[in-house]
């Protein structure tokens, strides 16, 4: 009986294989005559949930493109999954994307630890992955054929921000406050790299753990260091907590931070106005920018997603998916992963609503290399201090 069953199953498997094989050989995963399937993970719950708006912003971009008729006769079908910023979940989502849904590509994805659990798996399966939403070296080194990075590198961003504080604004006593993980550490690395070159040392280097909710000691240490300027590389909660704790003990240095905290409307609200005066680097156009593309997106936002707040995190989801879409457009009707890669490698100073994007050198997968600096005004708006500055060679 068992033998009979096994034979039957064996025959069935061979038949399925024979039927399926020629079909899949011609078909591109996630691309049909009318649709392109794309996935993204992002924390919709848990401590990193405010960053989850990015993945919802991408949804708006795909909706806009679909409303405008799609690309080469195909519309985007978008799958958004909540990984709660937990790497184990991210891995499972990546598998679901590839093995169950069968997506053509993955766009965005917040987090270093989360993305790292999926990187090798996606690359082994030749899934194009555009713009993980973090600026660490793991995405561009070693070079992966199907992985393109856009987010400015934290290391270079911090290096240049420190230079700006030191050279342009004349601060000599600089302290660092950072999150004790890859994100914060690569920021700290950039700051120290710059100071080392100038033969100055940090007056204090203070880190916080993700779960910390009491930063009074951290603030005291920063104050006692006598720092004139403090650079912070943290998540929004810690940024707000450290500002409040510092204000309590009368510590008022010049604060400066990364573009990860550039949602000044949110930051002004949670810091009760202490955010004013912050020197911030920006990797995207400002929310009220008059750039025609920004105006267009804002109008669509009102029409298609009025429930969402038009904040930096939200439209970052658009900014980090635009070049991917441009790649799909340039690849033409015959869309395959390899054609898309070739198309992406033709992008040169391509401009959406983020910095200029270039991928023409196949040995360099870092597309975004510019930021600009701004200062937060007391009303929460931004005074733009510079034009786009190239931070990565």
């Amino acid at each position: 009986m068992l033998k009979k069953n096994l034979t039957f199953i064996g025959v069935l498997m061979v038949m399925v294989f024979l039927i399926a094989a020629p079909a899949t050989a011609q078909k591109v995963r996630g691309v049909t005559d009318t649709e392109i399937l794309v996935g993204q993970w992002g924390p919709q719950t848990g401590p990193a949930a405010p960053w989850g708006a990015v993945a919802r912003g991408t949804d708006l971009l795909f909706k806009i493109i679909n409303e405008e008729g799609g690309i080469h006769g195909r519309k985007f079908k978008y799958y958004l999954r909540d990984d709660s910023y937990q790497p184990a979940k991210t891995k499972a989502i990546a598998k679901e994307f590839v093995e169950q849904i069968g997506v053509f590509a993955v766009v965005g994805g917040i987090g270093v630890a989360t993305g790292m659990t999926a990187r090798d798996y996606l690359m082994e399966n030749k899934v194009p992955w555009y713009a993980p939403i973090t600026g660490v070296y793991e995405w561009i080194s070693p070079i992966q054929k199907y992985l393109f990075a856009q987010y400015p590198l934290y290391d270079d961003e911090a290096f240049n921000l420190t230079g700006y504080l030191h050279e342009k604004l004349g601060y000599k006593k600089i302290a660092m406050f950072y999150q004790n993980d890859d994100y914060g550490k690569q920021g700290a690395q950039g700051v120290e790299r710059y100071l080392l070159r100038k033969k100055i040392s940090l007056v204090a280097k203070v880190s916080a753990e993700m779960t910390d909710r009491d930063l009074s000691t951290h603030a005291l240490k920063l104050k006692n260091s006598g720092a004139e300027a403090v650079i912070m590389w943290t998540m929004p909660t810690h940024a707000a907590l450290i500002l409040a704790e510092s204000a309590k003990i009368g510590f008022k240095p010049q604060w400066a931070t990364s573009n990860t905290l550039s949602d000044s409307a949110l930051m002004m609200q949670i810091t009760k106005g202490l955010w004013a005066g912050m020197i911030n680097s920006f990797a995207l156009e400002l929310p009220d920018s008059n750039l025609p593309l920004m105006v267009k997106y804002r109008e669509w936002h009102k029409k298609l997603a009025p429930q969402e707040r038009w904040g930096t995190f939200y439209y970052a989801g658009i900014a980090f998916a635009e070049p991917f879409v441009e790649g799909v457009r340039r690849a033409g009707r015959d869309l395959t992963a390899d054609n898309w890669v070739k198309a992406m490698e033709t992008l040169k100073d391509w401009k959406g609503i983020s910095s200029p994007i270039t991928f023409t050198n196949p040995m360099d997968r870092q597309g975004g290399k510019h930021v600009f600096y701004g200062k937060v005004k007391p009303d929460g708006n931004i005074e733009r201090l510079t034009d786009w500055i190239r931070i990565t060679k």
């Binding site: 779960t211 909710r213 609200q269 009760k272």
Partner: protein, 290 residues
């Protein structure tokens, strides 16, 4: 710096102590560790936020309505979830609290969204009093004061009111209490209500000290648990002392030894206490049930 570390340690410790007391009130009555404590407090705090921010209710009224909500939430959980368990073991009940924690977390995320908010508290979290060079922020000062007052009220309640005495009787011997005419089931619900109010006070203070968002209680709850273990899981004064001590020890460790391992101190304390004096600093005796 030393004085400053002690003061801010005391303020944080006061919040730990409140959460610890909320846990201990329930632990004493039913041996259940309530893992939903933090999220119950968080949801209550969000209710206060909603009343203050969306409906512009004056703070005292918002606080009173929040306490009412906290009472109902505590009773609701006890009656709808815990009481329904058939032949419950303590572990089973603890698992139910874990489940409720997840339900509340999901609910908060759905209802109020994940964004951080600043909690509109009548006392500024930036201004400070200056006592001869020692800077005590207003919020820290009031946190410590409110905690002390609340503890005193709880002390009076448990010692002198009929209901408080009935609760203690139920905690000591449920069967005997029932024989004496005490409605132990209602007493148990009431225990949950009181614990929920204490948690809500802690939640509002923690939100006022920092930020209001769904995961805000994760860290404080663990620290509250550590405080309870440090002071003694069955002793209310013990947990209060435990909370204050933990806050101070953490701050001194962070200030003079290592900031990176500051958070780990609480867990080292749990392990040390369980090895050296499992009943905690102030609990009178440790009974092992066979």
């Amino acid at each position: 710096m030393f004085g400053q570390l002690i003061v801010s340690g005391l303020a944080v410790g006061a919040c730990y102590a409140l959460l610890a007391i909320a846990m201990v009130i329930i632990y004493k009555s039913s041996e259940v560790l309530n893992f939903a404590q933090g999220e119950m407090a968080m949801v209550s705090t969000f209710v206060a936020f909603m009343l203050l921010d969306a409906y512009h209710v004056p703070f005292p009224w918002a606080a009173a309505l929040t306490f009412l909500f906290a009472i109902l939430l505590g009773i609701f959980f006890e009656i709808v979830f815990l009481r329904q368990a058939k032949d419950p073991t303590v572990i089973g009940l603890i698992i139910i609290t874990l489940g409720f924690e997840m339900v509340l977390m999901g609910f908060a995320g759905w209802k109020w969204g994940p964004d951080q908010r600043s909690f509109p508290f009548p006392i500024s979290n930036i201004e400070a009093y200056n006592f001869y060079g020692l800077i005590i922020s207003k919020i820290n000062f009031w946190t410590i004061l409110i905690t002390l007052v609340l503890m005193f009220i709880l002390f009076l309640f448990f010692r002198y009111t009929k209901l408080g005495i009935a609760m203690r009787a139920t905690q000591q011997n449920q069967l005997a209490a029932r024989v004496m005419g005490i409605r132990t089931k209602w007493i148990l619900s009431f225990t949950w209500a009181i614990s929920s109010i204490v948690g809500a006070v802690a939640g509002m203070l923690i939100a006022a000290l920092g930020i209001l968002d769904p995961p805000m209680m994760m860290d404080p709850l663990l620290k509250g648990f550590a405080s309870a273990v440090l002071g003694g899981m069955t002793s209310l004064p013990g947990t209060a002392v435990g909370g204050a001590m933990l806050g101070i020890i953490e701050n001194l460790f962070g200030g003079y030894v290592s900031l990176a391992f500051k958070s780990a101190v609480a867990f080292i304390i749990i392990i040390l206490m369980l090895c050296i004096k499992p009943s905690g600093l102030l609990a009178k005796h440790y009974v092992k049930k066979v």
